[in-house]
Structure formats: structure tokens, C-alpha cells
């Protein structure tokens, strides 16, 4: 089944749901994901690693060009690598470094990073209920949110598979770091990485995730709405704002019950 490669967390949730229905006469416990765990399920983590691998490969290509861009801009190579290690938010890093490269100041670079990252705010709010433990622990676990992992770890009931999320993010993190190091240390040798077509990588990455999201048929209307909002705002707002504003299209989900949208 093709969907299992794309939404392993959903398939696992479906299987657990089946088990629950089978055992519900004897088992009065709520389904596993009703009560978030604090331990990591190793098998699910490995499933996440495998599902994240192709995204890690794509991230690697992107981070090579990020590393090269940062060093071209005047960052010491070690600074470019540390940035990927502690910021780990690809499009925000590109935005901030590009602004500095174009002669922009510290303030505008940081504001751009905030705006580009602002989509992680609704993503974190969605993830929150699926995390357990104290606030510090939850805050740290929330750092594992990156686009592909978040989208793949989503279950049909609106909860998230955190072990899967960690696995999928872990492999992308390693790839992101290695790619940045390669790009930074090879310095100007790569030249303008746009000639390799790497600027097409990110949008393609998102398009593929979107295509798989929309396979079910539901969500097409809001996706179109989000796209139109973003398109309308591109010329009049700073980078990042169109994506955040587009998330408002999802508010149409208020009209529905929690079990309806997918």
C-alpha cells in the first residue's frame, strides 16, 4: 500500500484503533494515544528514521547550498555549522543569511527568521496535547518539529506520534548538519548553487507532502484557500507572513466536528 510509506504514523494509529475495537469488551483503557507517553517507542522511532530518510537526503542538498551561502556572506565556516546545529530551521536560516548577504542589518535578519518560522507556532499548538511530562521537557521535545516530520507524524484524530516525529527529525538533523559542514568547508568551490537547481528542492519537497496530504480528497478547499491567501500577500508583506496568514484558512475546520476533516 503506497500510503504506508507516507503516513506510517496514521497507519500505525489505524492498526491500534482496530486492536482497540477488537479488545474493547475486555480492555477498558483508552486508546494508547489518548494518554501521551513519556517514553520513546523504538520500533516507531525506526519507522520515523526510514520515513525521514528521503527528506534527509533532500535536506542534505539544501544545507550544502546554505553552508556555501553563509561562508560566501562572510560567516566563519564554524559559525555556519553551529547555526545549523542550534537553529535547525532551514528556511529561516536561508532567510536570515540571505538578508545579511544582501546588506541587511541584524534586526531585519532576525525578524525575517521569526516570520519564516512563525508556521511552527500553529504546528506546536497542534503537537502540544500529544506531549507529556513537565513544561521544560515538552518545550524541548517541541524543538523536534520540522515540516516533513510534523506532517508525517500527524494521526487522523488530530494527535501526533512523538516517537515517529523524533525518528524522522533525527535523521534530517544529522543530514542538515553534515550538508552545512560540506558546503561551509568547501567554501567558494561550489560557486552559485542555483545553477544546480537547488532552489527547486524546497518547494518540491512541500509539493510532494501536499500531494500526499490531498490524496484523501479532503482538505483540498482549504489548501486552495491557503495558497490564494499566500499568493495575495506575497507582494505586500515581508517573507514568512503570507504562510502564517494562510494558516487562517484552516479555521474553516471550526465548522466541522473533530472527526470530520480527513
Amino acid at each position: 500500500m503506497r500510503s504506508s510509506a507516507w503516513h506510517p504514523a496514521r497507519d500505525a494509529a489505524r492498526r491500534r484503533e482496530d486492536d482497540r475495537l477488537i479488545h474493547q469488551d475486555t480492555d477498558t483503557h483508552p486508546p494508547e494515544h489518548a494518554r501521551p507517553a513519556t517514553t520513546i517507542d523504538r520500533a516507531t522511532f525506526r519507522t520515523g528514521l526510514r520515513a525521514g530518510a528521503p527528506f534527509a537526503a533532500a535536506s542534505f542538498l539544501l544545507s550544502v547550498s546554505l553552508g556555501a551561502l553563509a561562508v560566501d556572506t562572510g560567516f566563519p565556516a564554524v559559525a555556519a555549522i553551529v547555526m545549523s546545529a542550534i537553529v535547525f530551521a532551514g528556511s529561516a536560516q536561508f532567510a536570515a543569511v540571505s538578508i545579511v548577504a544582501a546588506g541587511g542589518g541584524l534586526g531585519s535578519a532576525v525578524v525575517a527568521a521569526v516570520l519564516v518560522n512563525s508556521r511552527f507556532l500553529p504546528m506546536g499548538i497542534a503537537l502540544g496535547p500529544s506531549l507529556a511530562g513537565g513544561p521544560v521537557r515538552r518545550g524541548l521535545e517541541g524543538q523536534a518539529v520540522v515540516d516533513a516530520s510534523w506532517a508525517m507524524a500527524a494521526r487522523p484524530d488530530g494527535t501526533f506520534d512523538r516517537s515517529f516525529l523524533f525518528g524522522s527529525t533525527a535523521i534530517q538533523y544529522v543530514a542538515w548538519l553534515l550538508g552545512t559542514a560540506l558546503g561551509a568547508l568547501s567554501g567558494g568551490a561550489l560557486g552559485d548553487t542555483d545553477r544546480f537547481g537547488l532552489d527547486a528542492v524546497y518547494p518540491t519537497f512541500f509539493l510532494v507532502l501536499l500531494i500526499h496530504e490531498l490524496r484523501s480528497g479532503r482538505g483540498r478547499g482549504v489548501a486552495a484557500g491557503g495558497a490564494l491567501i499566500a499568493l495575495a500577500l506575497i507582494p505586500i508583506t515581508p517573507p514568512g507572513a503570507p504562510v502564517l496568514a494562510a494558516s487562517l484558512a484552516a479555521l474553516i475546520g471550526l465548522r466541522t466536528r473533530g472527526d470530520a476533516p480527513r
Binding site: F75, A96, W150, T204, L207, L210, I234
Partner: protein
Amino acid sequence: MSVDPWLLIVLCAVVTAAIKGVGPVALGGRALPDRATGVIALLAPTLLAALVVTGVAGQDGHLGVGVEAVGVAAGGVVALRGSSILVCVVVAAAVTAALRAVT
């Protein structure tokens, strides 16, 4: 470069961590109401669609489409035919690079 790279890195790390952490810190372990869950389930397609549009049609704050749009479209066609993400991304980059070389 007029900016201290280390200061930029630390500030970016702090704001990113704060943005990613707010939801989990505020909402840990607490089930959201059904209506909120309905919104969340629609967030992924909405945000992804917006990211595709801004990635393809946003050129430094202006509307515009470059050759990479053709590459992305090629990647999308390959995705619809069931290829893995890596194949899609390589096709998109290769088409973009080829077009850029001839234009």
C-alpha cells in the same frame, strides 16, 4: 558584512526555540476540544500549499515565476506517478538546472 554572525546565530536560535516551544509548553498532555482538532487536521494541507506558493511565486517579496517553477512542476508530476520524494527532488533540481543552463 556589517552583522556579527555569532550574535545573529544566537538570536535566531532563541527565537526559533521560543516559537517551537510555546505550543508544547502551554498545551502539554491536554486534549483540545473537537472543534480545535478539526482546525488542526486542516493545518497541514493549508501550510504546505502556502509554502509551495511562496517557494515558487515569491521572488524577494515580489510575485514572479522563474525556471525553478518548471522544475517544481516536473517534480510534482513525478510525485503523482508515485515516485519517492528523493526522485521528485532530483528531477526538479535537474530540470531547473538544465533550463537555467540554456536560458
